[in-house]
């Protein structure tokens, strides 16, 4: 699981959890992969992501080196900054570990790089309320 995915995942599917964000990240195995740098994509992503959550997640797994703790003002033209964000967003891959709901402490395992966000039937709201989100 890449940190870009972590940045947009929440645990609000759980009954009684209203925000469920950001999920606490515990990694037991991390792989750093090579992904081609696409400055346009990264700069498009920056306003869409929660930068402090990204920074904290990177820090919690020890991959924040080189990542500034705030968005650079001129980020669109700052290739060094974009490359640092690119690395953390797309190249740091959590192969195993878990994601922990900040409100309930419920853990969602990550195995073979795939997070399992399924909840048990007693953890969801009544069926007749249509959420679809």
């Amino acid at each position: 699981m890449k940190l870009l995915t972590h940045n947009v995942l929440s645990s609000k599917c759980l009954k009684g959890v209203s925000v469920g964000y950001p999920l606490r990240l515990n990694a037991t195995d991390i792989k750093v992969v090579d992904v081609d740098f696409n400055s346009e994509f990264v700069s498009r992503m920056i306003p869409k992501i929660n930068y402090s959550a990204l920074y904290e997640a990177a820090q919690s797994i020890g991959h924040h080196n080189g990542l500034p703790d705030a968005v650079a003002d001129d980020y669109e033209h700052n290739d060094d900054f974009l490359k640092a964000v690119h690395h953390v967003l797309l190249e740091v891959d959590v192969v195993s570990g878990d994601l922990e709901c900040p409100e309930s402490g419920r853990k969602f395992p990550i195995t073979r790089g795939i997070p399992n966000m399924l909840v048990n039937e007693n953890e969801v709201n009544e069926i007749n309320s249509s959420n679809g989100c």
Partner: protein, 476 residues
């Protein structure tokens, strides 16, 4: 935007493959929009596979062909008529500026003949070139049949009914081949050679069509919430999108289901959606897949997508399921970590409403939702297709699966942002509810009825013994 080379618009012939005709116009319209192509029809396009269009420059049709999988190719139209002598007159009167650059001593050439709907043998085709004798064209280069620099096409169009062709063609076309469409992607992305496939992986042609309907462009973020084996992510990634998927089935995402290939006993250990993208050199475009229930909220509110391209389960070959139970759930703390959640049926009316709500919430403005919906043909009513106040249905193409069942590719565009408590109208379309039950029961009923009809038609009164054997095999 295509550069406008001159004020004179040029005429081109778009030659389509005669397959999935109902998807053709929708694809071209989507591509014109996403590639920002300026194009106009000379005549309103119909079902026939030759469309004459006008564009400001050749670059425009080349761009179109670089994406379209409906398109076989594009021809610079030199002459066209419903009458062969007029065609020759047009060619003779052709401005030399049009052909001179391509009819040079150093450029090899080939003349090809297409007789649409009328199958001719090779000698007959060669004969056509001889008989028609385009010898007045100042062709001076050498012939090269394998790899010519210039391909000239002569086409005859005999209508759409191969069993009922007229003596003379309806239309004649002559021109220079400009470029191929993307039909080669059908081979490149063929499921036969793909690493990881499942029972309901989407075939290459339709998955490319879906990516085009989604107006996918480089750098987009595309999600499939019923991802399965990721067959819809492949063409989206091919067109430059970054792709994400979710699925409720843990086993399929981890490639632990039974293999779909008959010769294959067990799945290889390295099968995965990511491996598929790697196979095509698209691994850079892969973000993640997540095991999750699409009926429940998963993403943060701000998460914004450029397109949602999906093929939800129909309940026939893959179950329609969501997490839930009809009993009072009792799971002890000890069981919880290893408990496999129980699932209940996820009715199509709920599923599509949830999908539209999701799209209205997470698509960017102008972003598209592309989804298939299975339909019993006789219950189809356009008015009953799922609706949402923020989404406009921009295309609706039918793929016929049997005499009774089809699926329709619906393309929605997000036209406004939802207010906080706005939800889709629930459309209780009779064909959306209990599709599975209807699918099976409907077929059984009609099979008998059909048999009776058949017997009465051929004038046989009793339907036993011998007559059973001559009854046509019913398609189920």
């Amino acid at each position: 935007m295509c550069a406008i080379a001159s004020n004179i618009w040029q005429r081109y012939l778009l030659w389509f493959a005669h397959d999935l005709v109902d998807f053709r116009m929708a694809e071209i319209k989507s591509l014109i929009s996403v590639l920002d192509i300026n194009m106009r029809w000379v005549e309103e396009p119909a079902d026939h596979p030759f469309w004459i269009v006008e564009v400001p420059s050749e670059e425009c049709v080349k761009k179109l062909a670089s994406r379209s999988i409906s398109l076989r190719g594009v021809i610079e139209l030199w002459a066209h008529s419903n009458n062969i002598s007029t065609l020759h007159q047009q060619l003779k009167a052709l401005n030399p500026n049009v052909y001179q650059p391509y009819l040079q001593p150093h450029l090899s050439f080939k003349v090809e003949v297409e007789t649409f709907s009328n199958h001719l043998s090779l000698p007959e085709l060669v004969d056509k070139i001889e008989v028609q004798s385009f010898s007045y064209l100042p062709i001076v280069g050498p012939v090269n049949l394998k790899n010519p620099d210039v391909k000239l096409w002569f086409m005859e169009y005999y209508g759409l009914e191969p069993n009922n062709i007229p003596e003379l063609p309806y239309q004649y076309y002559f021109g220079r081949w400009i470029t191929d469409g993307q039909r080669h992607l059908m081979k490149k992305f063929s499921l036969k050679t793909r690493k990881f496939i499942g029972n309901t992986s989407m075939d290459a042609q339709i998955s490319v069509l879906m990516a085009n309907q989604g107006k996918v462009k480089p750098g987009d973020l595309v999600l499939d919430p019923f991802v399965g084996t990721g067959s819809l992510l492949v063409p989206a990634a091919h067109f430059g999108a970054y792709v994400l998927g979710t699925d409720i089935d843990y086993l399929i995402l981890h490639a632990k289901t039974r293999p779909s290939r008959i010769q294959q006993k067990v799945r290889a250990s390295d099968e995965s959606i990511q491996a598929n993208l790697r196979q095509y050199g698209l691994e850079n475009q892969y973000i993640d897949v997540v095991v999750a229930d699409s009926s429940l909220p998963l993403w943060v509110k701000e998460f914004e997508l450029d397109a949602i391209i999906t093929d939800p389960p129909y309940g026939i070959r893959e179950p329609t399921e969501r997490v839930g139970t009809h009993k009072v759930p009792q799971i002890t703390e000890q069981q919880a970590p290893t408990h496999i959640p129980s699932k209940i049926d996820y009715g199509h009316d709920h599923l599509y409403q949830d999908l539209l709500n999701f799209a209205a919430k997470h698509l960017k403005l102008g972003g598209r939702l592309v989804t298939f919906i299975p339909i019993l043909r006789e219950l189809y009513n356009e008015e009953n297709m799922p609706k949402h106040p923020c989404l406009e249905l921009v295309a609706n193409s039918e793929q016929v699966l049997s005499a009774y069942v089809c699926r329709r590719l619906l393309t929605y565009e997000k036209v406004s942002r939802p207010s906080d408590c706005m939800a889709g109208e629930r459309t209780f379309d009779p064909s959306l509810e209990n599709f599975r039950d209807k699918y099976f029961n409907h077929c059984e009923d009609s099979r008998q009825v059909r048999r009776q009809k058949h017997y009465s038609n051929i004038g046989l009164r009793d339907s036993n013994s011998k007559t059973d054997r001559i009854a046509p095999e019913s398609d189920t």
